[in-house]
């Protein structure tokens, strides 16, 4: 039982990282119906930015976190501007191929400049842990969990209460109608990329701390898992992405603990296929009728 509780704690911290990445996927999909394959790589850039500013410039954790979020946010806007905006009204398959191309360029440019080998992450947060009854919680896990919750609350506030958030919701419901109401669609989409990518940047530094090592291809697998999380929760739905992320993190931790760590990736893809068979709209997704 105590082991089970311990695994829940581990699952929650891994899951909150997935949830942060999944939010970016779901927001972008909600607004321009694009699976942003490059999103996982934005998160990798976040991890590398934090690595550089802490190792070479001696930043401490919170300044590094802010830098990461700013750099990744701007990178996201840049990607949208260069690669996705020219294709906004072309077939979805075209945009999807572009996204894969962008992802390749980011991955291997990083590998080219930073080397493709693994790098050990600096110790940014104390590794102290304390005993809470039968379970052991590390300071890192608490930080990860708290930061995720704060960022999610902030996101909810932006989306529900601010003018920009309202514009985002409007554009994702109907782009043309939003345009007629005087909303600047281009800016709104850029803003969505900014926020989503900034969250991925935060996830990047947290994962660097959690796993202690980074490499240029680290974004691919967590990126896909986060996408599965977004599909599980209902793609386009923000609470769905949070729930999905936590569920995927939990499932993966449980497979490692009670099954075999060799199948930790397989279980996530299996969940995806099951979701697609049973309820393709996901847990909280809306069932949209197709209009001709």
């Amino acid at each position: 039982m105590s082991q089970f509780l311990q695994q829940i704690v581990n699952g929650l911290s891994l899951g909150s990282i997935y949830a942060l990445i999944a939010l970016g996927y779901t927001m972008v999909y909600g607004i321009i119906k694009l699976i942003n394959f490059a999103h996982g790589d934005v998160y990798m850039i976040g991890a590398y930015t934090a690595f550089i500013v802490t190792t070479y410039f001696g930043f401490s954790f919170f300044p590094a976190l802010i830098t990461c979020m700013v750099v990744c946010g701007l990178l996201g806007v840049l990607i949208e501007r260069i690669a996705y905006r020219p294709l906004r009204h072309s077939p979805r398959i075209t945009a999807l191929i572009t996204a894969i191309g962008v992802s390749y360029v980011i991955e291997y440019t990083t590998a080219y400049f930073m080397g493709s080998e693994k790098r050990t992450y600096p110790q940014l947060l104390s590794n102290a842990s304390f005993q809470l009854g039968p379970i052991k919680i590390s300071t890192q896990q608490i930080y990860i969990f708290l930061i995720t919750i704060v960022l999610m609350l902030l996101l909810q506030f932006i989306i529900q209460k601010t003018k920009m958030g309202r514009a985002m919701r409007a554009v994702s419901t109907d782009e043309n109608a939003a345009k007629l109401m005087g909303i600047n669609v281009d800016n709104t989409i850029s803003f969505t990329f900014l926020i989503g990518s900034a969250l991925a940047g935060a996830a990047g530094i947290l994962v660097g701390i959690y796993y202690n090592s980074i490499n240029p291809l680290m974004g691919m697998v967590p990126g896909l898992k986060a996408f599965v999380a977004a599909v599980f929760g209902g793609i386009g739905s923000i609470p769905g992405a949070m729930i999905g992320g936590l569920f995927i993190g939990m499932a993966e931790t449980m497979v490692i603990a009670y099954g075999s760590s060799l199948y930790r990736d397989a279980i996530v893809y299996a969940i995806l296929i099951i979701v697609l068979i049973v309820k393709p709209t996901g847990l909280l997704g809306k069932n949209e009728r197709e209009k001709v």
Binding site: I35, G101, V105, E107, A270, L272, I273, E290
Partner: protein
């Protein structure tokens, strides 16, 4: 003129293929194509098979599959395991057949639920599925886990490869011109309109997907018997993208352009062999730039068609 299977056009194609085959065989025998270029040539042939079969799924039917490496993996391992037990052509044929059976089952499992859905789910589902295949292969005893299979008999010969390439192209282009192929094109152009015309869209999507998977698995079998060693790491997501780059670069929907693109990318790979990272950056950039400026690909959906060339020549003659 186009009556019967032995019409002029088909005979001309056969003649062209035979001449090409003899020419390349002669060049290999005479050492003009040395063993280094021979590897590139063999690689190109396997890539042509993969690109043409993926083009059938993406270009003709409009379904975005990212799992081609998974089916190739199935074919490679089936052939590898069986030819290791029976190191002769019967073993290879049996291996290919076993690969067919497993690929069909796998393709049906992944495609029937996902092809009902519209949108990009197929891309992610096929990607996930091919990763599952790879993880299974990596953890099974019979496939020798992460170390991979080695000592696979070298059964892939030049005539066999040429046969594979020709069969793949014939199957794909004939399928495109058949009634189910036309239905697939209708689905690609407008799924709702196709459905309104009474086409069972899911059925035709599944048919195209399964044919693509079978051909990829055959290419995988030839791949295994060509390189003696296969490892699960050869069949990752990146392999699927390599094939996708060929299809996109050439032009979705045209078999000719897939063949040309596979040859071009084969040459590019040979030149950039020592610059892996740079090669990948170029691949990525090709995808982005092509999609923004020339989404129909370098050659678009044009095909080299002998009957058109013959017709033109005739018209010219009559005009004179």
């Amino acid at each position: 003129m186009t009556k019967g299977i032995l019409n002029k056009i088909n005979l001309m194609w056969v003649a062209i293929i035979v001449v090409l085959y003899l020419l390349l065989s002669y060049m290999m025998a005479a050492g003009i194509i040395n063993s280094y270029y021979k590897i590139t040539l063999f690689n190109m042939c396997i890539n042509i098979m993969l690109a043409v079969s993926l083009n059938l799924v993406i270009g003709i039917c409009g379904q975005f599959s990212l799992g081609h490496a998974g089916f190739m993996c199935i074919g490679a391992y089936s052939a590898g395991i069986i030819t290791k037990m029976m190191p002769n052509y019967a073993g290879l044929i049996l291996g290919i057949l076993v690969g067919f059976v497993i690929s069909t089952i796998a393709a049906l499992i992944v495609s029937i639920p996902t092809l009902r859905l519209k949108g990009d789910y197929l891309a992610i589902a096929t990607l996930g599925f091919s990763e599952i295949i790879r993880i299974l292969v990596q953890n099974m005893k019979i496939t020798n886990g992460a170390a991979g299979l080695s000592g696979i008999p070298a059964l892939t010969t030049w005539p066999l490869l040429m046969l594979g390439v020709v069969l793949t192209i014939v199957i794909c282009s004939n399928f495109t011109r058949s009634a189910p192929g036309r239905a697939c094109i209708a689905v690609r152009e407008d799924e709702i309109a196709a459905e309104a015309m009474g086409i069972n869209t899911t059925k035709y999507k599944v048919i195209a997907f399964v044919i693509g998977a079978l051909l990829a698995s055959a290419a995988g079998a030839l791949f295994a018997c060509n390189f003696y060693v296969i490892k699960p790491t050869q069949f990752t997501f990146n392999k699927s993208i390599d094939i996708l780059v060929m299809v996109v670069f050439g032009g979705m929907g045209s078999m000719t352009s897939s063949v040309l693109a596979a040859i071009a990318i084969g040459l590019l790979n040979m030149v950039l062999q020592n610059f892996t990272d740079a090669r990948m950056i170029i691949y990525g950039a090709i995808l982005v730039i092509m999609m923004i400026f020339k989404p129909q690909g370098l050659f678009g959906d044009r095909e080299i068609s002998l009957s058109k060339i013959v017709d033109k020549a005739k018209a010219k003659k009559e005009a004179n």
